[in-house]
Subunit: 589 residues, 2 copies
């Protein structure tokens, strides 16, 4: 029986560390929380525009994640807030909705949260294992390219509507004559500054001692590191200040962000139907759900994959409780949906910053949350001065390093066959949408796996010596998909081996499981072998397997538990002359 | 290079035996062909009514199958003609079609043939392996019950329209007051006579010597056997004669079959669009295809599964060339569609009769074909006297033994987990249609297989002795779905094993393949182990596997090709005192 304490610790991971939480932990978490906040705030403002929402929704969305995850999360590095990928998906699924994209985004958050919570409670964490590394990698790269492409218009000050990768580039070239000089200059300027400041990180050192730098790092290097980490914030503030100066002299050279209300988000129930007012008819929940369609399933699906992937990357080999992670992220979304949040998730870049800042517990999320609160209390009046091109630069610089080129070389070196799912996923993600692409990728991988399990390599040895027999070694799993193949192969190799070999030893010692179809196949194999005067003996050390063979092949079947038993019970004639077994032919089929 | 002869033999299996074909072979095939014809003719007339078509279409459909299969088929026992299952499906997919059910059935035959041919040419035969025995068995049983249920109305002389299993029984109980006494009496009378004549088989003996009766059987026993085999023909002729007598006296107590045209089917192109005539608008091919919908894929899918299943049952252990079988059945359907055939396939009952009659080559199909020709030349005028209740009795008696009750006990005994796909398939086939049921069954089996491949049993041994290390033995396939699980398990068992064990030996000698994801998992495992001062050595005898491990884990990784190499290169301290290895804990995770 699990005692109350263990149960609490399981349901609320915060229980595990809150008792031991001391001043040093708090200080580390505070530093990490503030550093992440510096990265987070400009990022979420930019991501909100990517999602087609006003900037304040980025901040609203960043509020609950950190705080809720502090209670239910298990990985200290993770920070739950808007991400580039989910922002893009939110835009795709909400910008055409008739009852308003804000309302739709919030509903999406609520339902995504519910589904994530359900998956966690039902312990569906193992499903993540079916998303292979090449598929995730192709998906991430294609996603990054799609996101960067969607920002091209803001970077050049263009105005057009485009849904997907192809449309974006078609529109871009159609509108290329309308490129705005000022926006373009600012956008590329920001990109150059951001990339330059990013490389600063290599010259600085994080505040915590890492493997590479075991000695305490100097204050100078720490400052350089902080400047690098805070680059988004600095560029955004700098550009907003520049736009403000221009405005004083009545210049408006850049496309700017729209005005936003300041202050806290209001608490409101995400599932409220829209009531009919004069002239407009209302929309009830079922209509809204019908309009959102299958996006309700896509968002949590992508969120879970991303989240578990990031969690594993920062778990340092420890087992990640994927189900608990789903519960935590689900609760973050559900809570957020009451405060105007759009779908949120962990982000790799924030986790990396958090890790480098020396985070110790998920409580650091609370400090980040407080920073976000301060931001929407004091900073919102200045949002209308942020140039769109600057936000585009921030987004592009954030995602461009997600494009993994090196992995193609690695896949080629390690297992060329894995290039197939990689390439198919990548192309499908770009051409058919990233969520369709990853599903196709998973399907390709599953087909590959099915093929390999249905066509196992069977080891066949012809043994001359004290005894003359054909030895066939079966694989770990003999299931319906490979059973018939095994039966045919064994029969064929007995036929091929000629008159001399009248005995087949089927070695099931490696076999861990077998199903009914396999049992029936062996039954018919024994019958067919009998007709051509050959006999078959099983070697099965596993109790479970030998019981199954007994049950399916009848009482006459000979099953040896060990090599010694085979030696004793083998009905073949013993060639006393030769000493020890001699293998003549070994083939792997 | 394959020479012309081999190629011919491959494309036209008839080539293989036609040269050696002698008088004895011809006599055997003739006897078998005629015996199958006796079973076939009443069967196909009944099946045509099951398919919602006039009786002559049963005969038209039985014409081409035997002849075409004689040239392209490989299994002598198989006879390609209408079957109960395909008749039921044909009814379901064609009876509501606006351009006429006959036209629709013929088009379905044509396209089913094309798809079967394509599957054969593309060598998709291996896909059959994914249909497990429990799924096929549940599907067959549920199909038989559905077919028998559909005949209940004819058995009781009732008239109602019902699409599926539930509707049939609901309607039956709604119309139970309208039961016709004469039809019911005749129907049940026929069933009793048919079942009684069926048991006669046990007292008779087939014309060929079998295992059970190696001595030549007596003429008396042969006659009994033929009476049993010809029972359908006798009952149908007897009942038609009875109806004829009644008619002479102006009685019409039974519901009778409708009048049919006599003579040969006319040759016509199956893809001809219906031209607009006065008052009615025409229908072009694309409209027809749209109306047929996905049934075009379902019919060949079911046909292929049934066909390969029957072929395997009669191949006596020899490898069935599933792709060639698909080609043969595809061509039978294509040829048939030019002569008014609805979808055809092999049938288990006919194959059993053919086998028992001593068939030697697929040429026996030609003799059956000639019998069918004679039937529609001379017998059609008598068709309108066949009572519907008699045909219902023939169908019910043909399918009732397809319900496999014994297999449930076997599955329970051999592998209880297989009850899940069995029960799900059975219930879904009955409630949602047999074609939906089998698809769901396959999906359940694939999920089961995926689960087992993603959660392999990993053998862990802690070895004290000359060396102290943890030995982990991996399974045959380490792919993306199990890679992360293996990584976690290995890391966990190293953590659990305590300070004493600082070395892990990962035994990949049983592993036949590994993918990129697995490679990356091992790379991160080695890194994580290093952090806690543990080391890892691979044991990989397979060249392919060791190359992959080298490529993914870098140059520092230690890979031993054999136990001896491990003994030499093992960096752990050797306990000189103890002699030989001692295993303390062995667990299977």
């Amino acid at each position: 029986m699990i005692n109350t304490w263990e149960l609490m610790a399981r349901l609320l991971p915060i229980w595990k560390f809150i008792k031991k939480y001391n001043g040093a932990d708090a200080l580390c978490d505070l530093v990490a929380g503030i550093t992440v906040g510096l990265t987070l705030i400009p990022q979420v403002i930019a991501y909100a525009s990517l999602a087609g929402l006003e900037p304040q929704y980025g901040l609203y969305s960043a509020l609950c994640g950190g705080i809720v995850y502090a209670i239910f999360g298990t990985i200290p590095e993770l920070n739950i807030a808007p991400t580039a990928l989910l922002s893009l998906l939110t835009y795709q699924y909400t910008h055409k909705v008739t009852f308003g994209n804000v309302k739709a985004a919030i509903m999406l958050t609520f339902f995504a949260g519910i589904l994530e919570l359900l998956c966690g409670i039902l312990h569906l964490g193992f499903l993540i294992d079916f998303v292979s590394t090449p598929v995730v990698s192709a998906f991430t790269s294609a996603g990054a390219i799609t996101i960067a492409s969607s920002q091209i218009k803001n970077l050049f000050g263009l105005k057009y509507n485009a849904e997907n990768f192809i449309q974006v580039w078609k529109n871009f070239f159609m509108h290329i004559s309308e490129v705005q000089l000022w926006d373009t200059a600012l956008g590329f300027g920001c990109i150059i500054v951001l990339l330059a400041m990013r490389t600063l990180k290599d010259y600085g050192e994080p505040p915590v001692s890492t493997e590479k730098t075991p000695e305490k790092s100097s204050t100078y290097k720490k400052i350089i590191w902080f400047i690098s980490v805070g680059r988004n914030a600095m560029v955004v503030v700098g550009c907003a200040f520049m736009a403000y100066i221009f405005k004083i002299y009545d210049h408006k050279p850049f496309a700017l962000t729209s005005k936003v209300p300041s202050g806290f988000p209001s608490f409101s129930v995400p599932l409220k139907p829209i009531e009919a007012s004069n002239g407009t008819s209302g929309t009830d929940i079922s209509q809204m759900l019908a309009e959102l369609g299958y996006s309700i399933a896509v968002i949590p699906f992508i969120a879970i994959i991303a989240n578990v992937g990031i969690a594993k990357a920062f778990a340092h080999g420890k087992v990640v409780d994927a189900s608990q992670e789903m519960v935590a992220v689900g609760l973050c979304n559900i809570a957020g949906s009451f405060f105007g949040s759009y779908p949120v998730n962990a982000s790799f870049s924030r986790a990396a910053v958090s890790s480098a800042s020396g985070v110790r517990t998920p409580l650091s999320g609370i400090y980040t949350g407080i920073m976000v609160m301060l931001a929407f209390t004091f900073l919102t009046p200045y949002f209308p001065y942020i140039p769109k091109a600057t936000l585009a630069a921030v987004i592009i610089c954030a995602v461009v390093f997600m494009v993994e080129v090196a992995i193609t070389k690695m896949i080629w070196r390690i297992n060329r066959l894995d290039m197939i799912p990689f390439i198919i996923t990548f192309i499908c993600c770009l051409l058919m949408g990233i969520e369709v692409g990853i599903l196709i990728g998973i399907l390709v991988e599953v087909c590959k796996l099915m093929y390999f399990t249905s066509r196992p390599k069977i080891m066949v040895k012809k043994i001359h010596g004290r005894r003359t027999y054909v030895r066939v070694t079966l694989n770990s799993l003999v299931f319906f998909s490979s059973a018939e193949y095994c039966r045919e192969k064994i029969f064929q190799c007995v036929l091929d081996s000629g008159q001399m070999f009248s005995l087949v030893l089927v070695d099931c010692t490696q076999t861990t499981d077998m199903d009914f179809t396999a049992g029936k196949c062996f039954e018919s194999l024994i019958k067919d072998l009998k007709k051509i005067d050959k006999s078959l003996i099983f070697l099965a050390s596993n109790e479970h397997i030998s019981k199954m063979l007994q049950a399916s092949c009848g009482k006459d079947v000979v099953i040896c538990k060990s090599e010694e038993e085979f030696d004793v019970s083998c009905p073949g004639k013993i060639n006393a002359v030769s000493n020890g077994d001699m293998e003549t032919v070994t083939t792997q089929m």
